[in-house]
């Protein structure tokens, strides 16, 4: 019995356990999501997060211990952003064709994303710390955390708001666009990438490769524009 406990003490503190577990949970959830035909409501990112969090709470494992293992997955967000260059080059002719609509949608979308988040947060009486953390919520996690930090906000809270926004957009986008009668996948992809960064982009890639590409482009462009406009709005 004591030996078994020792084993748990070793495993629960080693990066191996939580790294393996995160991947295993993802594979399981992904298989289930595919079985239900990639229904937008069955978002694999959300389900995996809740399952892993429940496991950590049940075993009394602190988040820092978990992240020591899972950081190897987290780290790949950087190279995955660089990787968007490949579909960008692959589909360059269609990108060039849509350059002007993209730039217009980027300008409008990025201002609406920051403005509506800050405005609604104030309207709903959320504390000032939350208002600062929610401003860059549509931007990919690493950039959003850097923006919030530069205003003395809480980057950990920003990460949670960013990922929630990603999941919400990924769940809403397909039924919303269908209801609006938008069939242009360049436009649909661009909107979800701008509003919901990488999680929206991951969803778009499962629907249509061109939608995924435009989502990825919007994610990259919005990261740049939001980093420039948040200082203007919060100051």
């Amino acid at each position: 019995m004591a030996e078994r406990f020792d084993l748990w003490v070793y495993l629960s503190a080693s990066p191996l356990l939580w790294l393996t577990l995160t991947l295993a949970v993802w594979l399981l959830v992904d298989a289930i999501v595919q079985a239900v035909g990639r229904n937008p409501l069955a978002n694999p990112v959300l389900i995996s997060i809740l399952l892993v969090a429940a496991l950590l709470v049940a075993t009394g494992t602190p988040y820092a211990t978990y992240f020591a293992g899972a950081q190897f997955i987290h780290f790949l967000l950087g190279p995955a952003t660089v990787a968007l260059a490949v579909p960008l080059v692959r589909h360059w002719p269609i990108v060039r064709e849509n350059l002007l609509p993209m730039l217009a949608a980027l300008g409008v979308g990025s201002v609406v994303a920051v403005g509506s988040a800050v405005g609604l947060a104030v309207l709903f009486g959320l504390p000032e710390g939350v208002v600062t953390a929610i401003a860059p919520k549509s931007v990919t996690a690493g950039v959003a955390m850097a923006i919030t930090s530069s205003f003395g906000g809480d980057p950990a809270l920003t990460a949670v708001l960013v990922i929630s926004t990603g999941v919400i957009g990924a769940v809403i986008v397909t039924p919303l666009m269908n209801a609006m009668g938008i069939r242009d996948y360049t436009a649909r992809g661009f909107a979800v990438g701008l509003a919901s960064h990488g999680i929206g982009t991951a969803r778009a890639f499962t629907v249509d490769p061109v939608a995924g590409l435009f989502a990825g482009i919007a994610m990259g462009l919005n990261a740049v524009v939001t980093a420039l406009i948040v200082p203007l709005l919060l100051r």
Partner: protein, 130 residues
């Protein structure tokens, strides 16, 4: 596999060095993306591979693999939600309302602008032709 990953990491490193060295607001990985795209475009222009063949290169294969599993990369940071228990209890409903409303408004504004400008351009060029 290793070559493809090295190229991706190399361009990210280049982007980080540029962003930090010059104090730019643009995040390092985004600069890396632009650098890799420029390099691939140049190689395609030189006839090293066609645009359609870019996915068959080493870096292309690594990129396609990584983008195919994009979702799982957000799980570690997302699990951090367990640390915000107190805030969620106190403000959870208001937070959810703000995030849902803001996301819907952003999606609608972005897609309408995109489709609207595209139609405007198509009509103008159509008028010129006709």
């Amino acid at each position: 596999m290793i070559r493809g990953l090295t190229i991706l990491l190399g361009f990210q490193l280049l982007g980080e060095v540029l962003a930090r060295g010059l104090g730019l607001a643009v995040p390092g990985p985004v600069l890396g993306l632009l650098g890799l795209a420029a390099a691939l475009m140049l190689a395609a222009r030189q006839g090293v591979f066609g645009l359609a063949g870019v996915e068959a290169t080493d870096v292309g294969k690594a990129a396609v693999t990584l983008l195919g599993v994009l979702g799982v990369l957000f799980v570690p940071a997302g699990v951090g939600i367990m640390q915000q228990y107190g805030l969620l209890l106190e403000h959870g409903v208001a937070l959810l309302a703000v995030l849902v409303l803001s996301t819907v408004v952003t999606l609608v504004a972005t897609v309408w602008t995109f489709v609207g400008v595209k139609r405007l351009l198509a009509r103008r060029s159509g008028g010129r032709d006709g």
